[in-house]
Amino acid sequence: MSAPHILESVAGHDATADTPTAPPSPAVQVAVPTRRRAPLSWSMRIGLAVLVFYCAVALLSLVWTPFDPLSPGVGEGYMPPSREFLLGTDRLGSDILSRIMAGARYDLGITLVAVTIALVVGTILGTIAGYYGGTVDIVISRCVEVFQAFPGLLFAMLVVKAVGPGVLNIILVMSFIGIPDYLRLSRAEIRSRRNWPYAEAARMVGNRSWQVAFRHLLPNSAGPLLAFTSINAAFVALVTASLGFLGLGLDPNTPEWGSMIARGQDGVMTGEWWLSFFPGLAILGMTGAFYLLGDALSDLTDPRRRR
């Protein structure tokens, strides 16, 4: 970058940035070095605790469930919740509690892996687009626009129907759907900061451009990205369950929560509510925890919301 450019951005006047974000005001700059640890908010605590609980249940289900989640006929069909079958049995006489426990493996596992892939790929592409700008940026941004206008669930249905059911296929589809969002967010973050004084300083001492982008600018955008990741995880979990509900995601006998709800749909009409009700509560707990965590993270990282 040329010298006048540096002067411009030091003076707080940035002609090239997309958004008129000024460099941080003195008050914020002073606040950063004082390492005052804020107490963890309640939403953070609850969100983390619930997610840890779900992970524990998913792991536990590998070695122990009250009954075999996959075998039908451990009880009679349509048994209401009782001492023996805490959450009742489904049409085929499988234990619903065991199936919900085993379902945590699918719903939580798919969500976590898919979100991680989308976060990594989307952020790398977004950082490149945001930092370098130019043709790369235009091409990437236009592609994002097209994909965002596309109904996400429909795309997932189309691809899953084509490539066939399977955990890996769902993970890939779900991460693909998520990439544009991460791309847009990280691009905006990097773009608003790439001419801040610390980025100029990093360039002046001889860092290569990718080092400035990924080592200096990206870590400073971690807060908003992580907050979004948590909220996006809730969305991914809901779409995964939706695919299961439509019978597209996995083998219909898989104890995935969405397909369990679909299996119990007829029961709801005749009064056997527990078939669909409890898997929904399982989804509520997981997605709710992701939302709480995301809220807490954005409170932490957005100084305006910390007041």
Binding site: R142, C143, E145, V146, F147, Q148, A149, F150, P151, G152, L153, L154, F155, M157, L158, V159, K161, A162, V163, A234, L238, A241, S242, F245, L246, G258, I261, Q265, V268, M269, T270, G271, W273, S276, F277, G280, I283, L284, T287, G288, F290, Y291, L292, R304, R305, R307
Partner: protein, 338 residues
Amino acid sequence: MPLALMILRRLFWIIPVALGVVTITFFAARVFTGDPTELYTPPEATDELRAQIRERLGLADPLWVQYGKYLSDLLRGDFGMSFTTGLNVGADLSDRLPATLELGLVGMVFGVLAGVPLGVIAAVNRERWPDFLVRGVTLGGMALPQFWIGLVLIWIFFVTLGWLPGPVGRLPIGVNPPPLLTGFLLIDTALAGDGEKFRLALRQLALPALTLGLTTLAPVARVTRASMVEALQSDYIRTAIAMGHGRRVVWFRYCLRNALLPVVTLIGGVAGHVFGGAVLLESIFGWPGLGQYALQAIERSDFAALQGFVIYASLLYVLAFLAVDVLYMLIDPRMRTP
């Protein structure tokens, strides 16, 4: 003139976006799902008959020829023929559009009319019980799958209480629809002066609209709350209170108006996804709209139908965000200065 110019520019951008969406759907559907001829051919058909059917479905040409033909038809407003209904997709879509729009509009209006006041109540009672209550309800509304909410509402209001009719579509079975004018049953029955049918249509609409409304209400209330909380802390509100205005006047006349901008964006986003979201909602309630059409198209590899639906959905999305930007310029004077 900047407003008109912006609208024109944005309308122009619809063309590449629509082209991209059409292209993706076209190739995704064909490459992913392969040749659907078998679905539409009796198993005992001879090879000759099979080839004829393939020809008639327009699948015999190379992919690029099919694509070029589809695009040139589309430019002339021809959406192609649906494999399943045998009719023109454009006619199919406009037949089903009013059902989806009616449900979407009623549901969203309910969601917004309930969500904004709830958000205000939560914000002005921050960290007190009304706030916790609203936050709890909205968290549930966002964290629960829409299809589950729909099923539970059916279970409560139809199965258990028997207050509302079951999920059988827009009118009870055996009731003839009113003379077709707009396709919106509530309007058509009202125009025909048929009070009884109006009531029946409204009762059928209640549960799906409530489901959509609840899932709309949740994010609307949350965003309203967050934005109100921020506005309440601003200097001009402090000034307004210091000058002795009543609290209600400050909240609703000064604060809410400034806090509504992010809510407008959100509503635009929700509206833009109404068609996409209709896929699940309509399948639960047997609602004969675009969503069911799309679901059927996916299940039966009905390419032209699927492409038509995706074009509709993406157009709605782009137009919804255009409307948001226009509204912004009308609401916020700062946006009007170039």
